[in-house]
Symmetry: C2
Amino acid sequence: MRVLVLSADNFEDSELLVPYYRFLEEGFVVEIASMKKGKITGKHGYEVGVDKTLEEVDADRYDLLLLPGGKAPEVVRKQPAALEIARRFFAGNKPVAAICHGPQTLITAGLLKGRRATCYWSVAAEMKEAGALYEDSEVVVDGNLVTSRQPSDIPAFMREAMKLVRK
Amino acid sequence: MRVLVLSADNFEDSELLVPYYRFLEEGFVVEIASMKKGKITGKHGYEVGVDKTLEEVDADRYDLLLLPGGKAPEVVRKQPAALEIARRFFAGNKPVAAICHGPQTLITAGLLKGRRATCYWSVAAEMKEAGALYEDSEVVVDGNLVTSRQPSDIPAFMREAMKLVRK
């Protein structure tokens, strides 16, 4: 299994690191893509290496897309390459797991219309405006899409993400 | 399954949070014990609630003991109640998972003599002096004991801890 993470500086550290280590525990390959190579730094100071630029990513080579939260999605959602990657996962009906502010990238990509989803409370208004069927739940699964609200939802988020990727 | 975490302020955030969320994903009960109730804060600023004081812990009610690293073990190892809890787990041959500086509590409790184990590089000297058979590996499993060196070892650490607790 191959997991792709889209993020940038000021990611929410636990929302990137917990799934990252969890997927590695499972023996998955996990690659992090961002605007440029080098390192990205989380809000709490954790650093992770960037494996690929967004332009270098071949979305077809991955089985799951992870979109962690924090301030990073505000920047990621402005990158056309990131939106194309997200659309490619949806077109292939492949698992996409987004938490907190992570769904913002899916909103901008126009992928949530008519889809059941959740997100951080402050993102709920724009999620609804984008046509999503917003729910205030620890995790919402709608087909290929798993979404959660915040770090405390990580156990439910990972439980459902693991189920999807094992299908 | 019931997991007990012994820690204090200045814990290494990822070494506490990743296993914490992982065990909750699995449906386990996880309780955090420290010197006093309230909250403890990690080196990177994450806060977790304290469920029990060390004196309130009945070690027999738990199936696994987790000892995360950071600066916390320097304080935890000075608490007689923490040492008694660790000894109780060893006496019952129940799983104990310690990472980074976490094994310091086991060193002070006199539990590592003749045991294969690892730890953060700066703890290696005192681990050897305590009679442990130190190995510089991402994870060392010796009977009920799982040890690792640092955050990047978390995938191997959790893989082996999950195997032990499922036995």
